[in-house]
Symmetry: C2
Subunit: 251 residues, 2 copies
DNA sequence: TTCATCTAATTATCATATCTATCTGACTTT
DNA sequence: AAAGTCAGATAGATATGATAATTAGATGAA
């Protein structure tokens, strides 16, 4: 094809830009190249040199280098003199980086990805609920309750269903009082955002609120085993739905 | 104090340098500044401007900017015109980034951190073992067996205990066939490397090999519940040890 | 073949200049 | 007063051109 790559300018892209912070040439280029890598645009093609990248996107080499450096920090690239810049295998990407997650979901969505997501959630969230039952402060327990209240309100149309769901699950993570668990904020939010389109279509979520309440009640009673089981049931249901959908898709 | 910061040169630091790839000025500066941030050197002090950083470390502004950009990509910094560069709260650091992990462990080690580590492992690894029991390929099962064999050899002094332990646990993660689980390679390796000094001192690990073998056997038999329980027992023991150690340390 | 050496390509670094966003404070307007 | 407008100062953002360092690959000798 050899289509011309449109030049990056501060005016062009900021609207559709999706990245952690800032809106300037460097972050714009980070976004464009990161997305291109994730969708596999360079899988069978050599990655361009610094100079080529700069020319193609109409920016200076300094900006190009900074964007490339950020992508190496996220594990997508590596650069060496003479060898050039090369795309790293997916196994070394920082999948928990929120930019990488967004690129993956935006352009590379698949039911398999959703299953991988939820296979992780079924490990993390029940344990987080168990920790929260033991260690959460009163304020953190209240936040979980508030999330549940929002879900009830959403049922009646007074709040956003997705936002309420995310608030609940994030509050549980926060209640674990473990910084590593809190890291899964973005991941859980993304998983919920993508799976809501999915699960809604397959099955009504009327039972969902009662399941969430079971988690909350167990946490309030400081019943860590109960919280773990209730949360596991909640996510296990989603996994089953996904499994069925996958089988259906194949036949 | 106002001590003079030694200039970064390609000759000075490569020996003690700890970072993902490359050994040049940019990566050296990344390492130096990253470590300084993690140990809290800038908690009560304003972070220097680009120009100051460059001058203090004896490198150009381009190198400084690239290092800063990498640190923003890892979530440690953010930069805005006029406001300057500022250290982000720890909640937005990418804790699963292997550089960040190393900085944390090297300079900011604490029993609490070790407990947080293992609270995460107790969520991840049992579920990974369960997945491996269901989905691992023959080659992946063999790799788990090989890890166990190395542990037995290490018992007899024919292999490195730590390396063998890591090999086993990493092989289980690989067997999960889920890219998100595989991301915990570095984390598990770090956790084992730091906890081995610890657990060894408290209690002999003679029973450890039998516990590992139980995991392996369950995976071979495709018994996912058995694998999950066996792995949970394995890490649960470590958590108990740490909990006791913390109580002892406080008294 | 095998090893050492050279060459060229590509990243790495530097220095400098200019541009742009943003804060501050003074001034003006209403 | 309260709100709007302008000027200066500051710090990051971008561009550019030159030079250094690294190393894959070609070349050539043993």
């Amino acid at each position: 094809m050899n289509r011309k790559v449109s030049a990056i300018t501060t005016d062009t892209f900021p609207s559709e830009m999706r990245t952690s912070l800032g809106r300037n040439l460097t972050y714009g280029m980070l976004d464009v190249i990161g997305r291109a890598i994730v969708i596999g645009e360079y899988d069978n093609v050599a990655f361009p040199t610094e100079a080529e990248l700069a020319r193609k996107h109409g920016v200076s080499r300094a900006v190009t280098r900074e964007a490339v450096k950020m992508l190496t920090a996220k594990g997508l690239l590596s650069a060496r003199p003479r060898q050039g810049t090369i795309v790293q295998p997916q196994s070394s990407w920082n999948l928990f980086d929120s930019d990488v997650l967004h690129w993956l979901l935006e352009r590379k969505f698949s039911v398999e990805l959703l299953r991988h997501f939820n296979q992780l959630r079924v490990a993390i969230e029940p344990e987080a609920a168990a920790l929260a039952a033991m260690q959460a402060t009163d304020a953190e327990r209240a936040a979980i309750g508030a999330g549940l209240a929002r879900m009830v309100a959403a049922e009646a149309g007074a709040d956003n269903t997705l936002a309420a769901d995310i608030a609940f699950h994030v509050a549980v993570l926060e209640g674990s009082r473990n910084p590593f668990y809190k890291q899964f904020r973005d991941m859980v939010a993304s998983a919920l955002a993508t799976s809501i389109h999915f699960t809604n279509r397959i099955k009504g979520r009327s039972a969902s609120i009662e399941d969430h309440r079971a988690v909350y009640d167990a946490i309030l009673k400081r019943d860590s085993d109960g919280a773990r089981c209730a949360m596991r049931r909640l996510i296990g249901d989603v996994l089953i739905l996904i499994g069925e959908a996958e089988v259906t898709a194949k036949s």
